[in-house]
Symmetry: D2
Subunit: 344 residues, 4 copies
């Protein structure tokens, strides 16, 4: 099918172009990017010179599916007309992730331009919403942090085995902040440095909470989410801390074994979610679409430490978007995504 990318010049956009290049069914036919309009893709990104396309100001309309890698608000404005015309859309921005327009307004400081589409949009955390994604016209691709956190938590939360008082501590590479220039991505300021940010509330918090509530039908979650910026380009490591519900896991070694086995059952057959047998590292997902989950029990007190690793630009953005596209078109879920991580 014919594919378009709106805003190919950001990191999610350029990663989409890279991944689509070898997709067996998708043909990239139109790319936009206002600041670089008129240039060949290879002029801006020499590593993609073999994709013979010119960046345009506006999308060519003859596409079967469009990925939008625009920032929020601008993204909704761009894709709403397409959705209304029936073009399939995967929106990588945050614009259709939150179901409640008022929550959206509070966190994004903007009135939502198409609140009627919020309910129709499918939250594209593929593993948890596979059926709905397959039928969707508009998929809201999840945020990078929510992807890692929700996949680490889902097996226990969905089965009601964990208390709803959860700390989520994430460590992210710098590319998650995008390609726009800020003091927060100046090399000399980021290198040899680590810091927490979003302590007053990060926009991925309502997204995480919403999805946990939807998994359970309960609204009693007390989530504290603290992202950290660390000196690397790609990768997110998330550690979630929570207590198991009383009686849900045996003590000691046996608890650890049951926990692993529970996760393995939950993610059985999943093409991209791997349950590790030993603590995982983000480098094991560098450049590919895997999410590696490793759940563990603190043997001294029984607290759960649920960890996950992803590449924020692949499973956390462009890769998952293509995984969703595959589903939407009835293709094998791994089409175009079946590559190992690059190590070292």
């Amino acid at each position: 099918m014919k594919v378009g990318i709106i805003n190919v010049t950001g990191y999610a956009g350029v990663e989409l172009a890279r991944l689509l290049r070898h997709h067996p069914e998708a043909e990239l036919v139109s790319i936009t990017g206002r600041s670089e309009a008129g240039k060949k893709l290879g002029e801006v990104f020499p590593h993609l010179a073999e994709i013979d396309l010119t960046i345009q100001a506006e999308l060519d309309r003859s596409t079967d599916i469009v990925f939008s890698a625009l920032p929020q608000v601008a993204s909704a404005q761009a894709v709403v007309p397409l959705v209304r015309e029936g073009v399939k859309v995967v929106d990588i921005s945050a614009d259709f992730r939150l179901k409640d327009g008022q929550v959206y307004e509070r966190w994004y400081k903007a009135v939502h331009p198409a609140p009627d589409l919020l309910e129709e949009a499918v939250y594209g955390l593929t593993e948890l919403n596979r059926g709905e994604v397959a039928l969707a016209t508009l998929v809201a691709n999840p945020g990078c942090y929510p992807t890692g956190a929700l996949l680490a938590l889902a097996p226990l939360v969905k089965q009601g085995l964990v208390e709803h008082d959860i700390v989520i501590d994430s460590k992210s590479g710098v590319s998650g902040g995008g390609r726009s220039l800020t003091m927060e991505n100046h090399y000399s300021e980021v290198n040899e440095n680590v810091r927490a940010y979003g302590l007053e509330g990060h926009r991925h918090l309502p997204e995480i909470t919403q999805e946990l509530e939807r998994m359970t039908g309960q609204a009693d979650f007390r989530i504290t989410f603290v992202p950290h910026l660390i000196p690397m380009t790609r990768g997110i490591f998330t550690a979630c801390y929570a207590w198991p519900k009383a009686g849900s896991l045996p003590a000691g070694k046996k608890g650890q074994e049951e926990l692993l086995s529970l996760y393995r059952d939950f993610y059985k057959g999943e093409p991209f979610v791997k349950v590790a047998s030993a603590p995982a590292q983000t480098k094991q997902t560098w450049g590919n679409n895997d999410c590696i989950v490793y759940p563990s029990v603190d043997k001294y007190n029984g607290r759960l430490v649920l960890t996950s690793c992803i590449d924020n630009l692949v499973k956390g953005a462009a890769g998952q978007a293509i995984q969703n596209m595959n589903l939407m078109f009835g293709l094998p879920e791994k089409a175009g995504l079946d590559y190992p991580a690059i190590f070292p």
Copy 2:
């Protein structure tokens, strides 16, 4: 006074030598390091060529104070005779941190060579034990992680304002693992990578728990401590998550203000612990002896997020050791340590 360093060739040892070079009262007179014995210090560490000393196999005994930067067990063996002779010692290893020989044996897999000294030794987290350090012959210099965690927690724990159910999530640079060669510090394996380790129990856990118990006289702490290795050389960022005791903090903005004010009071006049007004970064302590603490409240649910930044080789090792030495000899606490961090 005359100073000796046992095992100058590790990172704590070489940092001690650097910092002592400009100490107004300390004169480094003897350095050891078995593998490099016989070489000039400047042959092994060219940046220290102006310290005109030869690395010896055994310490010259005519010193007023000795720093041991040996690994555990070897360190106790080396310093016990010195202590028994009345030489003042700051032991940077873990050998005299734990008060209970059985706990030591369980975590370090070795019978303690001088259990009688465990009670005598003073735990050298300077800010919390200033009086005892001043009178000590043997100071057990704290671990790098416990330094960051305990300073972040102490104001609330000591005043009984926080529940004893605490998650400590730390992110450390690679130098904390020492200079010995392991796959965990191979550049190509660490770069562009982040991982949790010690999930089965890190040796700094009993140290943290012991000190929290000593602060409160209570043994009901449920601490989960998860260290992470991130791609940088120096620095530890620690985030501690805990609930305030009911009624101990007002809700909303006022809670945040009271929290900051409580920390400022607690650390008032401290030369090295700074309470920040905004989220801090490890780079703000790069190369110096500061611990920057920033406490905050999750405004959505009231949970406490207590963070700290240190340079693991300075406040987390060599710097705090010198701070302790200063106290032991009645010198100004900042002597030799009064330098700003290096930025960027």
Copy 3:
């Protein structure tokens, strides 16, 4: 065809396994690695868990082609029996690169175990020896530095347009030094650091000189080669400095244009050597088999500055090895290698 890898546990070996996973014609059937023999590949390298093979002590002999990623000397010992049996071999070590056994002995401090094979072996810098590689049983895969340097120099050297007095200044990531532990790849020693090494003579020098002599039939080259180690995992940037022969290039802008055009002609149709129109960066080859060449003229004095970028583990090792294999089996040269670099 059936493929074996000797010493899969080094960086070249593991990169071969990654790249072969999606080769349309090659089937990896046997892998060795003494220290990890008996383990599944995925236990040692989790990102390759989908390759269902056990690491063995000895190679299974039913292979059509074998890659050896052993260190020199050991590699010759392992592959000579295979070559004598007629098995095709691409040797990634240095053992068959030098044509003169005495030169080999001088640089590698070992008597060559099979000097009779030195002349038979084909130096596998694919672009320059395509015909011979296609007919070879034993290919000596070039060193990473020679690959970058020779491709930057070949268009001018082969056409006799440049003086034979050449400075080659290369900057390499750390993975080029392999996976063995040394103080030179300890993260804390390499990070925030750059140094020259091999100032007394690097082993890739005789390899570069030999090939330049073979290109020209002349033995009057005066090559100074200085490699530098810089804090990154993958990539080599090489700058070669030389004077054009009198009259070979016009002055000023025109010289620059003719130079580019000369390079474009020389590498016309090459699948992996790209002549850039603007200065290139190693990141544009990260993870793929390209060599990007950018030749320029110092407009103030006419000196040539000939630069190239490669990924040392791909075009500088495993990728070029597969490119050679493709030729040896009459496959399209890009088979299994047709992927863009990963950016950022």
Copy 4:
């Protein structure tokens, strides 16, 4: 004496403030920085909170010496009135380095605002111009690249022992590019990357050439200077390649020994230029004012490889500026600068 810094908010400015904090004679009394005017220094740079100064729009005039860390052109505009009033000035910008206003105009695309001061200004490469600096009112602090290159070359060039055909290949950390935001210092674009830049002519080239000409009184230099950007914050490694004049050095080992001895004699007694006995690394100068020089001979052909290491923000900017100030005020040259590098 009383010191002012114009534009304290760039990297050279903030490094000046750090280094001056412990200068035994200098008192920082006035700092400017237009974009942050009105803020306390510690608000912008928390690590300098102990310097109790407010950033102002304009300099307080009651200073004995002023450092300007403004960009070129703006710097000349700011310091010319001060110089005319007799205030001593060390200008860290390029505005007074070139002696010829027309050369300045060609390279900096601006008419020089005070060409009459060009001859009066002293080029502040301290080791080479000590006498003039001591008497100067206006010192033009050298560029970071020229500092490393000229100190590596001076012993041979001044003594007429080297041919004037020289390649200078430098590798720099990112902080040399300043604190302004550009795509060239975006973390994700710089990390895992190396590139040459300024291939069309870098502004430090005329500065290097001018000083080599002044050392010799000859105008026949053919210098090719290629700077490279590598993924680290601080440090410049420079390799200079040149032929010795016929007969100036014996062949083989003896040549290497004579070369080292010649450099040792030349820099004998220098407080900051160290001649190493083994290849040096930039990390050995991290954070301090040293320039480590290591000259070597290519034993295969006799070519000279002259290398140097500096911290671009210290000896390459703020440190050398203070070294010059010390001379201008008759203070010991090491005053405020006598600190070892920080390792690791």
